[in-house]
């Protein structure tokens, strides 16, 4: 039986990591707009997920301005897969 991942229980983090599966790397502002959260809220989520090794963030430029690019790591992809499996088990009433 799959276990829920404590780093992904917050709906915003589940949403963030799921969004990252659609791209190889994405700019901070695109994620912020997609999630509908403030810069500081997104920064906290990204920092937490980066500490867990689930995302990688790096400084870069976009349209000539400094920005942060965020990507899902292989560990994050695996954790997301397990977390989604655990949620499906809950939905199916398997536990």
């Amino acid at each position: 039986m799959a276990d829920l991942d404590r780093h992904l229980v917050a709906p915003a983090r589940l949403k963030l990591t799921t969004m990252l599966t659609a791209v190889s790397e994405v700019e901070f502002a695109v994620l912020r707009d997609g999630l509908g959260v403030s810069d500081s809220v997104l920064s906290k989520h990204v920092a937490t997920l980066a500490d867990a090794g689930y995302v990688r963030s790096r400084k870069g430029t976009h349209d000539g301005r400094r920005t942060t690019w965020v990507a899902l790591s292989p560990a994050g992809r695996k954790a997301l897969r397990n977390h989604v499996a655990a949620l499906r088990e809950i939905i199916d009433g398997l536990d």
Binding site: L4, T18, T21, S24, V30, G34, L35, R88, I91
Partner: protein, 189 residues
């Protein structure tokens, strides 16, 4: 520090999954291709196919130079369009770069290989109109495979977004050059 996870109810779990999938799908549908994306790649493939065929059939150093020169527009178009895509969307999709632009999609690489092979044969036969026809067919097929990939990506972004590894792309590039060199050497005998 993280607090222990509270267990969601089945309804909460379903809502969380639906919400996350909707956000992912919204992002993938928002990604737009730069103007003339497929057309410019098709044209670059047409030029590359035709110059490869004429260059290989020429059986000379100048012909080999033509083969290499034919790759230049393709590399330039690929680089410019990928930079434009990244600037336009604030996102990078490895699958788009490898499958659509560099043709690692099975159908695109097969179509390209067939077009190049047929164009080389036509060039050896000095059927220049057929060289042009094969090159155009190859370019159109290559870009149609790209259009098809975009549809697949928007239908299932999670499984389509990742591109081939840099190692595989390097191996494919080396194989391409080795194949062209072999054709020139064999043809020169």
């Amino acid at each position: 520090m993280e607090t222990p996870a509270s267990r969601p109810t089945p309804d909460e779990a379903a809502a969380a999954l639906l919400d996350a999938a909707a956000a992912r799908d919204q992002l993938s549908h928002r990604l737009a291709l730069p103007s003339w994306f497929h057309t410019s790649i098709a044209m670059a493939i047409v030029v590359q196919t035709a110059t490869t065929a004429v260059g290989v059939a020429d059986q000379s150093a100048a012909g080999m130079g033509l083969v290499v020169a034919g790759l230049v527009p393709f590399v330039l178009v690929a680089a410019v369009q990928l930079v434009r895509f990244r600037r336009l969307n604030g996102a990078w999709v490895g699958g788009l770069a490898s499958r659509v632009v560099f043709g690692t999609d099975a159908a695109a690489s097969t179509a390209h290989l067939l077009a190049v092979g047929a164009a080389i044969w036509a060039a050896f036969e000095e059927a220049w109109w057929l060289v042009g026809l094969c090159a155009i067919a190859g370019g159109v097929a290559y870009s149609l495979c790209g259009v098809r990939w975009m549809r697949s990506y928007r239908g299932d972004p999670a499984s389509q977004s990742r591109g081939e590894s840099a190692l595989l792309l390097t191996a494919l590039g080396v194989s391409l050059f080795a194949g062209i060199a072999l054709l020139v050497v064999v043809g020169a005998r």
